[in-house]
Amino acid sequence: MKEIPHGEWRFWYAQHKGTLLAAVLFAVMFVIYVSNHPAGFTPNVVQTASNKAALLAFVAMAQCFVVITAGIDLSVGMILILCNCLASWLVVGTPFETALGVAAVLLTGLACGMLNGLIIIFGRLQPIVTTIATSAIFFGLALLLRPTPGGAVNETLADAFTSKLFGIIPASLVVLAATLLIFWVPFSRSILGRAAYAAGSAENAAYMSGMPIKRAKFASYALAGLMSAIGGLYLTFFSYTGEAAFASGNAYTLYSIAAVVLGGVSLAGGKGGAVGAVFGALAFRTIGDLLFVFDLDPLWQPLFQGVVLMLAISIGSMGLARVRNRLEWFQ
């Protein structure tokens, strides 16, 4: 391990401030949650909480890959729904068939992401409109697969992925951490990842200095599709069914953006990381749970989530207080 020179922590802190804030926010909320939970801090409570949060964490991770390139993917929710519907057909039967099914679902998600990337990069269209249009396509496909809720999933596999390892650690958290380690860490440290960050902060300059911007963006969108597919797989593991639900697909897309913002990833691109996005997702989900332990009417949940979201993003505008020149508003 390389020794950090004196004073270097400042830069490390500046770079990871958003992630740290999200982690602290989540920690505080989770402590309030478990200390008021009737069952207290038990593996079961943690398991339920992490299972509920994992879905959003995966789409938040997906959104993060794209947002660091200063893009946006409004189709992550629909890719999740599509993969959910596909998994309810394919992830059944013998272990071999199940494995093939899982592979097919993941590949489908990857292909959806690649389609987004191809249209945005080579079709030179705006990410917002492109992913709005492709999300209609993905939802259409999902409706073809499951016009009415139904289907099944290999229950042994589903239970294995949603239970606890060694009776303590929730498997969904392990999968989440593994996904971060397998996809995010190598990506963010590779040339492609650096190029993705560069594209997000100064695309022209990055292009001029010969960074592989197109490949980096393509990889970002493709990986976003893959992460959403993992989310879709997990949704199937929880519900044992597939359902082409428009409202829930939309909700995942919107919440993924909220989670990314809470996680300190700048929508302007080039800032933040998937770890922050995951903590943002965990924090966002804990908001809903807090209502439950404080015995508030579930009717108030959407309002409460909205207000917290609004407060969280308003904190981000505190930087305005430091503006010395009015022109800095427009940067």
Binding site: I72, I119, G123, R124, L125, Q126, I128, V129, T130, I132, A133, T134, S135, A136, I137, F139, G140, L141, A142, L143, L144, P147, E203, N204, Y207, I213, A244, F246, A247, N250, L254, I257, A258, V261, L267, A268, L299, W300, Q301, P302, L303, F304, Q305, G306, V307, L309, M310, I313, S314, G316, S317, L320, R326, L327, W329, F330
Partner: protein, 327 residues
């Protein structure tokens, strides 16, 4: 002299043609293609009754898209449309519960609620510099929360006032539905605002380069705030019309209008990053999307196929003329 004049006349026509925005031309071309394709399928498509019916359905989207266009022109986006539409409808219906006065004030009250939500969006975007994509998402969630608390999670009991029903389904000038007239008025006002006022010019200026607009003395924050107020008010008006059409408000009535309103504006040639676009294009986009949806439903294609075709058509059309310049 005469040679000069004929030369001018000859070069005049292409110049005028060249001034037509290719995006708008293509969008109207696609509308014609859709109508022709539809008329091959069924001869009803070219009948005045059908076309007026389509215009009536289009008027709801048209009113909402007008507000969306104002916001997109300054390079922002309004994702709070779904629940502002629902809130406008619900609040207008709620006002009718208060007797004659409430019924009289239903429409203005619904629009006012939308304008207030728009003002929250605008204040946050203009004065707190929060990206519109996030803050409008948050206001959407907050308004949803407020409406869920207000209605108790069910569809509200109050129904639309007679005036709202008349506005959406009645006829002042016999064959033309009132909804179309409302859209016409909104459209004329929008064109006037965009083309003839400093407010409209400022929208384009901010969309092109906000710093430059600020430096040239435009109060960019006030203009941004106003654009969001207009968007909120028009979304709520769309909701009021919809509630009048269905004679009541419902929970997810606005969901179906977010994506079409953005798509209509962008398909009409307005640049999604702002600064460029004409209202004529938005009209074309609105009619295009309404016709597309209508034809797909007349052909009895199932929802799945409709979504698929809808997405593919939008992407293909954007690939035709929405491409950005290379870096």
């Amino acid at each position: 002299m005469s040679e000069d004049a004929s030369l001018m006349r000859r070069s005049g026509l292409p110049a005028r043609l060249r001034r037509v925005d290719p995006a708008v031309a293509i969008a109207f071309g696609c509308v014609l293609l859709l109508l022709l394709g539809g008329s091959i399928y069924s001869s009803n498509f070219l009948s005045p009754d059908y076309l007026l019916q389509q215009l009536k359905v289009a008027s709801f989207l048209g009113v909402i898209a007008t507000g969306m266009m104002m916001v997109i022109l300054i390079g922002q986006i309004d994702l709070s449309v779904p629940w502002v539409v629902a809130a406008g409808a619900m609040m207008a219906c709620a006002a009718t519960a208060y007797g004659g006065v409430g019924s009289f004030l239903a429409i203005p009250f619904g629009i006012l609620c939308g304008a207030v939500i728009g003002a929250v969006n605008g204040l946050a975007v203009a004065y707190l510099r929060i990206p519109s994509m996030i803050i409008t998402l948050a206001t959407n969630a907050v308004v949803q929360g407020l409406m869920v608390v207000y209605t108790g999670g069910f569809a509200p009991q109050d129904s639309a006032s007679p005036a709202m029903r008349f506005l959406a389904t009645g006829y002042v000038i016999s064959p033309i539905p009132n909804g179309v007239l409302v859209w016409l008025v909104v459209g004329i006002l929008a064109v006037f605002l965009l083309v003839r006022t400093t407010f409209g010019r400022s929208l384009y200026a901010i969309g092109n380069r906000e710093r430059a607009a600020y430096m040239s003395g435009i109060d960019t924050r006030r203009i941004t705030l106003l654009a969001f107020v207009i968007s909120g008010a028009l979304s709520a008006l769309g909701g009021v019309l919809l509630a009048g059409y269905a004679s009541k408000a419902s929970q997810s009535m606005g969901d179906a209008y977010l994506l079409p309103s953005i798509a209509a504006v962008v398909l009409g040639g307005t640049h999604v990053l702002g600064g460029k676009g004409s209202y004529l294009g938005t009209v074309a986009g609105v009619i295009l999307i309404t016709l597309l949806q209508s034809i797909l439903s007349v052909m009895q294609i199932e929802e799945a196929g409709r979504q698929l075709i809808y997405g593919v058509v939008i992407i293909c059309m954007l690939l035709l003329y929405g491409r950005q310049k290379l870096v």
